[in-house]
């Protein structure tokens, strides 16, 4: 009994200490956002929260981020996932090189990618489009290690060779075999990859800031230069939004997404 009492005391102490470390800054953000907004204001108010919707650039930045996240998801779904399956099925010699390629972004910090990719985006801006949505290209590479890991874990759990043979014996085309038979069995891995995409696109600052694209984070920084209160309430709102999103997704589906690591 003495031992469980000790364990409980330690547990409470650790949770209390780390909890304070994590929660006090979040509370401080709320505290800051309710500070008197104008000199004329006498007390605390929620004005900075109320004027979030009327911020210029913000709505469009959120919309653009969503579109970018959507494109990243499409790239995962129609390019990365089929390639990984294809290599496992038809080109076993390439499994190892593909893995190395997919893990390469782990060794390359985002700030380094910017240095290398700046000429490419200069070209894209001049010849194709100046839209921040073009960042989907580099973002899909940044999350490649996590996409690959959750995919390969999901693929290891099912015997895709048997599935593929069965599908083809029954007359399915290669396209139908991949899209209709194999992909549904690794649904969870794909969903997890999509979650990482949303988190990454909403949170990315390094690349977009240096390449001068107005993404969500860059716009928040820009608002922060004119109105601290509003910028802080937008930040807190976005944290709560993602937190609620994560709490709503059933725990079993989230499991592997939670294991991802942001090295950007």
């Amino acid at each position: 009994m003495k031992r469980t009492w000790k364990v409980q005391a330690w547990r409470r102490f650790i949770i209390g200490f780390v909890g304070l470390y994590l929660m006090v800054p979040l509370y401080s953000m709320f505290d800051f956002s309710t500070k008197p907004f104008l000199i004329a204001d006498s007390g605390r108010n929620l004005r900075s929260w109320r004027i979030i919707p009327s911020q210029p650039d913000l709505g469009i930045a959120v919309l653009r981020s969503m579109i970018t996240a959507g494109i990243v998801m499409l790239l995962i779904l129609f390019m990365i996932v089929p390639t990984v399956i294809w290599v496992q099925l038809k080109l076993p010699k390439l499994v190892r090189p593909l893995e190395l390629l997919c893990l390469l972004p782990l060794a390359i910090p985002a700030i380094v990618i910017v240095v290398g990719i700046a000429p490419l985006y200069r070209w894209i801006s001049i010849n194709l489009s100046e839209s921040p949505i073009t960042l989907a290209g580099v973002y899909s590479m940044l999350i490649l290690p996590y996409t690959y890991r959750s995919l390969s874990a999901a693929l290891d759990a099912v015997d895709i060779h048997t599935l593929a043979e069965a599908a083809q014996t029954l007359g399915a085309s290669t396209f139908r075999m991949i899209s209709g038979v194999i992909m549904p069995t690794i649904r969870t891995g794909i969903i997890n990859g999509s979650f990482i995409a949303i988190a990454l696109v909403l949170g990315e600052f390094t690349i977009s800031n240096i390449l001068n694209f107005k993404t969500f984070q860059v716009v928040i920084a820009q608002i922060g230069r004119t109105s601290g209160n509003v910028a802080v309430s937008v930040s807190l709102a976005s944290i709560i939004f993602v937190l609620v999103l994560l709490l709503l997704v059933p725990a079993t589906k989230r499991r592997a997404a939670v294991l991802d690591v942001d090295l950007a």
């Binding site: 031992r3 000790k6 330690w10 547990r11 650790i14 949770i15 780390v18 470390y21 800054p25 979040l26 509370y27 401080s28 953000m29 505290d31 800051f32 390019m79 990365i80 390639t83 294809w86 290599v87 038809k90 080109l91 390629l101 390469l104 972004p105 782990l106 060794a107 910090p109 985002a110 700030i111 380094v112 910017v114 240095v115 290398g116 990719i117 700046a118 490419l120 290209g137 590479m141 988190a199 600052f205 390094t206 800031n209 240096i210 984070q217 928040i220 601290g228 802080v232 930040s235 976005s238 993602v242 937190l243 994560l246 725990a251 989230r254 294991l259 690591v261 942001d262 090295l263 950007a264």
Partner: protein, 305 residues
């Protein structure tokens, strides 16, 4: 007769040809991905690595690299980066590891457990501008803690927010996202500690301390060290938080790279940016290789169990 065999022979060869073509055409399936990753991943990597050995006139030269090794600013920034990564990896892995243990000893899949994991996944990604705001609101001028400190103990360092904009401040701020990351990375390992081991240790007469020193800690050490290496890389590569919190353009290596890259300042120096980037790649690759070695040990152990 020959009329019959000839077309057959023809089909045979053409079929063999089609089979050969089919096996070669399998490689076509990876082409889109190869082109795409070539553009957005391999090209930037090649650009940095080859650029590190060129000068700004695109000629072969190791001047930028040797300049990096001799410049006191660069060495100072690199040292700061290493110290910062080391401290936040240590602090983050210890605090996060303990918190993961506290979560496991609690009710599994309870509300607190689920909330903690969801919050960890949000806060581990939480960096840059928003993190800077959070800490300015806490320790900055008129922040929650600094106001409190001003009232309670006006002479302490907390009352004056200057410390926040230096190395110590960055350590405190970075640890904020290192702890949740550690929780996420380490939780699966600590959940894998078998209760049977504890029972075995207890029934053989071991006490709590003996269990941890002889079983728990030795078993967890490789994963713990691996996670700490991951945290090191995470902190070493981070740019956004430092960039928004402090204005010193060459305080950390990532900040120095950004300064060398952007022409706003006037003295854009792509060769320097690439040389510094190359050094970063070398450090990160080295640490990630160590991580891979450790993981292999862990996986082997998990497979043999």
């Amino acid at each position: 007769m020959t009329q019959v065999t000839d077309p057959r022979a023809g089909t045979a060869t053409s079929r063999a040809g089609s089979r050969h073509w089919r096996s070669q055409s399998a490689y076509l399936g990876v082409l889109p991905f190869l082109v795409f990753s070539g553009l957005f991943l391999l090209y930037p990597t090649y650009n940095v690595v080859s650029g590190a050995f060129k000068n700004n006139e695109n000629e072969f030269s190791t001047a930028a690299l040797s300049e990096a090794f001799h410049s006191s600013i660069t060495i100072h920034a690199f040292k700061n980066s290493l110290v910062l990564s080391l401290w936040t990896a240590v602090a983050g892995s210890i605090l996060g590891g303990l918190f993961a243990w506290a979560l496991v000893t609690g009710k599994k899949e309870g509300y607190f457990y689920r909330f903690s994991i969801a919050l960890s996944s949000v806060l581990a990604q939480f960096g840059g501008v928003m993190l800077t705001f959070a800490f300015l609101a806490t320790f900055g001028f008129n922040g929650v803690i600094s106001t409190l400190a001003m009232k309670v103990m006006p002479s302490s360092f907390l009352a004056d927010s200057a410390w926040l904009y230096g190395l110590n401040g960055l350590i405190v701020v970075y640890t904020f996202f290192q702890i949740p990351l550690m929780v996420l990375v380490f939780l699966p390992t600590i959940e894998n500690l078998r209760p049977q081991w504890r029972e075995a240790s207890d029934s053989l007469g071991g006490n709590s301390r003996e269990y941890w020193t002889r079983i728990g800690i030795p078993v967890l050490t490789p994963s713990f060290a691996g996670a700490a290496l991951l945290l090191f890389v995470n902190s070493f590569s981070a740019y956004a938080t430092a960039a928004t919190l402090i204005n010193l353009t060459s305080f950390l290596t990532p900040l120095q790279i950004a300064t060398a890259l952007s022409s706003e300042v006037g003295g854009a120096n792509p060769a320097e940016a690439k040389a510094l980037s190359f050094i970063m790649i070398v450090v990160v690759t080295f640490v990630m290789a160590l991580y891979a070695l450790l993981r292999r040990r862990v996986t082997k152990w998990e497979a043999n169990r």
